[in-house]
């Protein structure tokens, strides 16, 4: 059960606001975001529930939810929200907080995919589609997944086995090394008080 505490009730809301500029307290639970979300039925907490939990500092539930990883960033919700909240951006912010605080991902296939995608870009500066799918299938221990599809793609000349590469790869490495997770400052100490 979520215990409301007058001192901390707005911590999560305030963090989201500081990091994304979005104010979840504007949400009045109309449910439109969830109604139009293509993956709401796959989520353990629906988008409108995420909004409510964020309003009352239910941060643990939200940060550990599958929802933030299942969100496709399709922007359907943001387009339709009558309170003008960019819900997709809130999801995005929650994902980053969740990673920063070390919450385990309830969707390892998805988080693993993002990691492999970025590893490819870091290495070559461009995405190597073939290497990405092979590595992903090995990681989830299904090395022959989609093998027929891959053969078909090869025969149609759609797979470039070597992939493209950026000439200035040093710069790409630098970009990866110097970029920070949050553009705005994220004082973790404030967050910890809530516990």
């Amino acid at each position: 059960m979520l215990q409301l505490n007058a001192e901390t009730v707005h911590t999560c809301r305030d963090t989201i606001k500081r990091l994304s500029g979005e104010d979840v307290s504007r949400c009045f639970q109309c449910g439109k975001c969830t109604a139009g979300c293509p993956v709401a039925i796959d989520m353990d907490v629906t988008p409108n529930q995420v909004m409510r939990l964020a309003q009352i500092n239910g941060r643990e539930r939200v940060l550990a939810s599958s929802t933030i990883w299942l969100c496709l960033s399709c922007e359907t919700c943001s387009t339709r929200c009558p309170a003008d909240i960019d819900i997709a951006k809130v999801m995005d912010t929650l994902r980053k907080i969740s990673v920063a605080e070390g919450y385990p991902s309830p969707e390892p296939a998805i988080t693993g995919f993002h990691r492999l995608f970025l590893a490819s870009v870091e290495k070559y500066g461009r995405l190597n589609e073939l290497e990405l799918s092979i590595k992903h299938n090995l990681a989830i221990m299904k090395p022959t997944k989609d093998i027929r599809l891959a053969v078909g793609l090869f025969s149609k000349g759609k797979i470039n086995p070597f992939g493209g590469k950026v000439k200035d790869r040093e710069r790409v490495k630098k970009i990866f090394a110097e970029s920070q997770r949050f553009v705005k400052v994220y004082p973790e100490s404030i967050e910890r008080e809530a516990e």
């Binding site: 387009t79 990691r115 950026v166 920070q180």
Partner: protein
């Protein structure tokens, strides 16, 4: 001749080769030129975005800065995901000078914010008179469901040239090619392409919903303008058929390929032989011979 900067992105050099081919073919007939951004890098797509705000911005801004350095004022990005990332990056650095400085430092070169990012459908729309004039073989009798997907018409801050809920740009284009644009339900429903590899079960379900809706509307084919949508709707189609115990057999054709066909170009030169779900039926309907395999025979209409 008008020449645009061109950001193909990783897909158009790989699985979406035919999008690249057909854009170039159709642009030539429109008297429009394209020049690739020098030494471009991946835009980072949703993976960078979900990991680090700065990384996502830096990758996108390096591309814009490369274009600016070469004096390119407008770049055309055919992938809806790249388009969205690049245009969003432009919006973000325009609003925050400090952020622009920090990003310029990370990428090791300056960016003044002077490069406009445009989607290829926007360019076609803008040149609709030339386009209509270039049609030599109208796509008469063809019923097309135009699929915009999630990022072509949204969010409003990025796409100011079409309606977020009921976009019509592609419908107008296919109409001008002589085809029939269908009114249907799933124009902007997300196809889940980013889960195509990681959560295939979800992607296949969403693909099935979209294909079913297009079938219900009586479509001969679905027109797309994003390599991720094309790959997902095309490659996951057989899995969606197995899941829903039905057959769709709906070719997923790039808008640029439809334009090329109407301009009388060879189906193979437009890469119409590169899809998993073949376009033979569509070509037959245009009273053409099936796609010539091997030999380069122009499609007679």
């Amino acid at each position: 001749m008008m020449e645009y900067g061109y950001y193909p992105g990783c897909s158009l050099h790989g699985t979406a080769k035919e999008f690249d081919l057909s854009i170039k073919e159709s642009f030539t007939s429109l008297g429009l030129g394209l020049k690739e951004v020098e030494d471009w890098n991946c835009c980072g797509a949703s993976s960078a975005h979900e990991t680090s705000e700065e990384l996502a911005l830096a990758l996108a801004v390096r591309i814009l800065s490369q274009a600016e350095k070469a004096g390119q004022k407008t770049i055309v990005a055919p992938c809806a995901a790249c388009y969205s990332r690049l245009k969003m990056a432009n919006v973000e650095v325009a609003h925050d000078a400090g952020l622009r400085k920090r990003i310029s430092h990370i990428i090791g070169q300056d960016y003044q914010g002077n490069v406009a990012v445009r989607h290829v459908t926007e360019i076609y729309k803008e040149n609709k008179d030339r386009l209509a004039a270039s049609v030599t073989k109208p796509l008469a009798g063809l019923k097309i469901a135009s699929y915009y997907g999630c990022l072509l018409a949204r969010p409003k801050a990025v796409v100011d040239w079409d309606d977020a809920e009921n976009p019509t740009t592609m419908d107008e284009l296919v109409t001008s090619l002589g085809a029939q644009a269908l009114d249907w339900s799933h124009k902007t429903e997300c196809c889940g392409a980013s889960f195509s590899i990681s959560r295939g079960d979800i992607a296949v379900r969403l693909v099935g919903d979209i294909l079913g809706a297009a079938k219900l509307a009586g479509a001969d084919a679905i027109a797309v303008a994003c390599p991720l949508c094309q790959a997902n709707l095309d490659m996951r189609q057989s899995a969606a058929e197995r899941r829903n115990k039905t057959t769709y057999k709906l070719p997923i054709i790039y808008i640029s390929q439809l334009i090329g066909l109407a301009q009388g170009k060879d189906a193979k030169a437009l890469g119409l032989d590169k899809h998993m779900v073949g376009a033979e039926k569509v070509l037959e309907k245009l009273s053409a011979a099936p796609i010539p395999h091997g030999e380069k025979k122009p499609v007679a209409v």
